[in-house]
Each structure stands twice: as C-alpha cells, then as structure tokens.
C-alpha cells in the first residue's frame, strides 16, 4: 500500500486533519490514534466546557492544583511562548477575550465588524503585570501553581503544541502531516517536501506556496475569528496584552515557518502584534506577512538577522 491515510474532523473549534504515509495497517492505526489524542486534548483544554480540566483549573481557588501531564505541558508551553515573544504572546488573557465578546463558542460567519471603525494601527506591547510568567509547573508533584484567579487561555499555543506532540509520535512513518486548524506540523522518514498554501485572509486565491519537508507552519490573523462587540467596534481574538483589547497593528495576517508548531505559532502571533515595521524580524525561518490594505510580503528563510547577531 502506498499513499497516505487521512482523517479529517472537527476539533479545537475548527477543522483538524491527520495524514500518515507508509506501508501496512499501522498507518491507519496511527491516524486513528492521533485523532483520538487530538479529541482528548480538546476535551481537556476547552475553555468553553465548564467540565474541562482547563476550566476546573481556572476555577480552582488553591494556589497549587493538580494537573494532568498534558495540562502541565500546555502551561510550560505558555511560559515558553511568553518568554520567546517578550510577553507579547500572553496565554492568560481569558478575562480580556471574554470581555471583548468571545465568551462562548460561536459562529463568525458574517460577524466581522466594519474595519473602518478600527482604531489607528499601533504596535502591541506586553502587559504591565503579565500573568503568563506567574504560572509554574512542578513535574514531581504533578501540579500547576499560580495566583488564584489568573486564568489560562492557551488558544493557538495548545494547537501548536499538539501538532508537535503528534508529530513526534509519527516521525517514524514515511510521511505525516498534522493540521490543527491551520497550524501544521509535517515530516517523516522519507524527507519529501510538501506544498503548503498560505490562505488569503480575504478569501481569495492562496497568496503563496511554501515547500517544506520537515517543520511547522502557523498563521495568525484578525479577519477570520472576528465580530462586532457590544459597543459596535470591530473585534477579533488577537489581543494586545498591554490594553487587553483586540490588536490593530497594521498587520492583518502573519504566517511563520519554524522547526516546531509551538515556535511557529509564537512567531506568527508576534509578527502580527509588533506591526508591519518589525514583523519581518519575527520570522527568522521565513513566512508571509499581509498588511492592512492588502500588501503581501514574503520573508525568505535566513534573510532575517537574529537580534543577537546585531548585539555585537
């Protein structure tokens, strides 16, 4: 048997898929196991389900609470993303996203607000009192600690992390691709490059084609999960940590290539949040930036000089 076994299903509030290539019935079993793990992760990490482990942790009045291995990994990933982005990727803005109008699972069909009513673009900034760095993981005790009331909303971080975890388990197959609602992790023993199309945020033809044999791609944007808030203002799910409000930076979509899904997710969100002037510097492994007004910039891998190289 050749080709790939594919399973596509609803998960994480969107569509996920798992593809595994190779020979034998193990391929089919691997796809089904990956699907099972993704659905289990969704049940564990959904902030819309009051019975999920994440919701129970967010309600727990204790400073230190028991947490499953997956939840501990998510907390650790949230810290990593916060550190890597200098606090721009903040997974503790649960109160703020609910206040902005995204308190429950919802449809975004036709909900986008009038872009002309958006505030003038400006770069986002870290929160003055960030919550993500208050989380700690104790692997020996199997617990997570944080000040009670600081809530976790991992969002895209969980998707990138799950793509990585599944990718690691599928690395021995000829090829694999894990798609967590647009966050992709690909690879496999065959080492063949795969085409990745970058979606147009306005719904048009794909903007660009990447070819990657192993690694990850993630995209963050403000046009897909967008709505009008109670005050009639356009809103979306990418928040400026400094204000707690939806960020309008002049970048409407950023796609990042990286070795891992977690890093790709972090870099894509960072590129969107820093604004068009600095977005390219957030994409050291390459990517695509779509600016307000429709300008598209392709950042080739290796064209970005790492900040540490400029430090002297």
């Amino acid at each position: 048997m050749s080709g790939e076994a594919v399973e596509t299903f609803e998960c994480f509030g969107g569509r996920c898929s798992v593809r595994v290539g190779g020979a034998g019935r193990e391929v089919v079993a691997a796809v089904l196991e990956a699907k099972r793990r993704l659905l289990a992760a969704h049940a564990t990490l959904s902030r819309f389900d009051p019975d999920s482990e994440l919701s129970r942790l967010n309600r727990d009045p204790r400073r230190e609470a028991p947490a499953s291995p997956l939840l501990r990994e998510v907390v650790a990933a949230a810290r990593t993303a916060g550190l890597r982005s200098g606090g721009l990727v903040d997974a503790t803005l649960a109160d703020e996203i609910e206040a902005a109008g995204y308190a429950e699972t919802r449809s975004f069909e036709g909900a986008a607000g009038n872009a002309d009513a958006a505030p003038p673009p400006r770069p986002a900034a870290p929160a003055p009192q960030a919550g993500w760095c208050l989380f700690e993981v104790d692997e020996r005790a199997g617990t997570v600690s944080r000040p009670p009331g600081v809530r976790l909303d991992p969002g895209g971080i969980a998707k990138g992390l799950m793509a990585d975890l599944l990718g690691e388990s599928l690395a021995g197959f000829g090829s694999y691709a894990v798609d967590c609602c647009g966050d992709l992790r690909i690879g496999g023993a065959d080492g063949r490059a795969r085409a990745i199309l970058v979606e147009d945020p306005t719904g048009g033809e794909p903007l660009h084609e990447l070819r990657i044999a192993a690694g990850a791609v993630a995209t963050s944007g403000i046009t897909r999960r967008a709505w009008t808030d109670d005050d009639g203002r356009p809103a979306h799910q990418i928040l400026d940590p400094a204000t707690g409000r939806p960020a309008f930076t002049g970048v409407v979509q950023a796609t990042a290539v990286a070795p891992t899904g977690l890093l790709a997710e972090t870099l894509a969100k960072s590129a969107l949040l820093v604004g068009p002037e600095r977005a390219g510097s957030e994409l050291p492994f390459g990517g695509v930036i779509v600016e307000e007004g429709g300008a598209v910039r392709v950042v080739e891998p290796g064209t970005v000089v790492p900040p540490e190289a400029l430090a002297g």
Partner: protein, 87 residues
C-alpha cells in the same frame, strides 16, 4: 504404547503433529549432515558459502525490481497541498 486417548495420535491432533514434524524435519537433516559425514571444516564451508552467495544475489535483484516499480507509484501519490490558515 499409545491409546485412543493419546492427544498425539488422536484424530484431531494428528494433522498438527504432522505439521510440526514437517517443519522441524529440514532443520534436523540440514544441520547434522555436514558434521556427521565430513569432518574437515574446509569442505563444509565450501559447500555452504556458494549457497549463501547465491541467495543475496537473488534477493538484491528482487529488491531492485521492487524499487523500480515503486518509484513511479510514489511520485503519483504526491500528497495534496495543505493550507495554513488563521488558527
């Protein structure tokens, strides 16, 4: 002496016993003969080595043929492009 209740000679078990005997028979014949009839090690290795060489040659040919056949199929099953979108 075996009886009708003997599990080896009973009607149900007899075919299985034959299969076991058939599987083990070649090994029993192949291993002792060179040592029992031919003492010098040189003669023994001279008989064994050609057989060993012939097998890899056949196996390699088969493997190459399979690879040649598999290549086009592999190209034909080029995975369809994936799409990265706002997550």
């Amino acid at each position: 002496m075996a009886t009708g209740n003997d599990p080896v000679l009973s009607g149900k078990e007899r075919p299985a016993a034959r299969r076991v005997a058939a599987r083990t028979k070649p090994k029993v014949e192949a291993e002792p003969e060179p040592f029992a009839e031919v003492e010098p090690g040189e003669v023994e290795s001279a008989e064994v080595e050609p057989e060993f060489e012939e097998e890899p040659v056949e196996a390699e040919t088969e493997f190459e043929e399979e690879a040649v056949e598999a290549e086009p199929e592999f190209v034909e099953t080029e995975p369809e492009p994936l799409v990265t979108s706002q997550s």
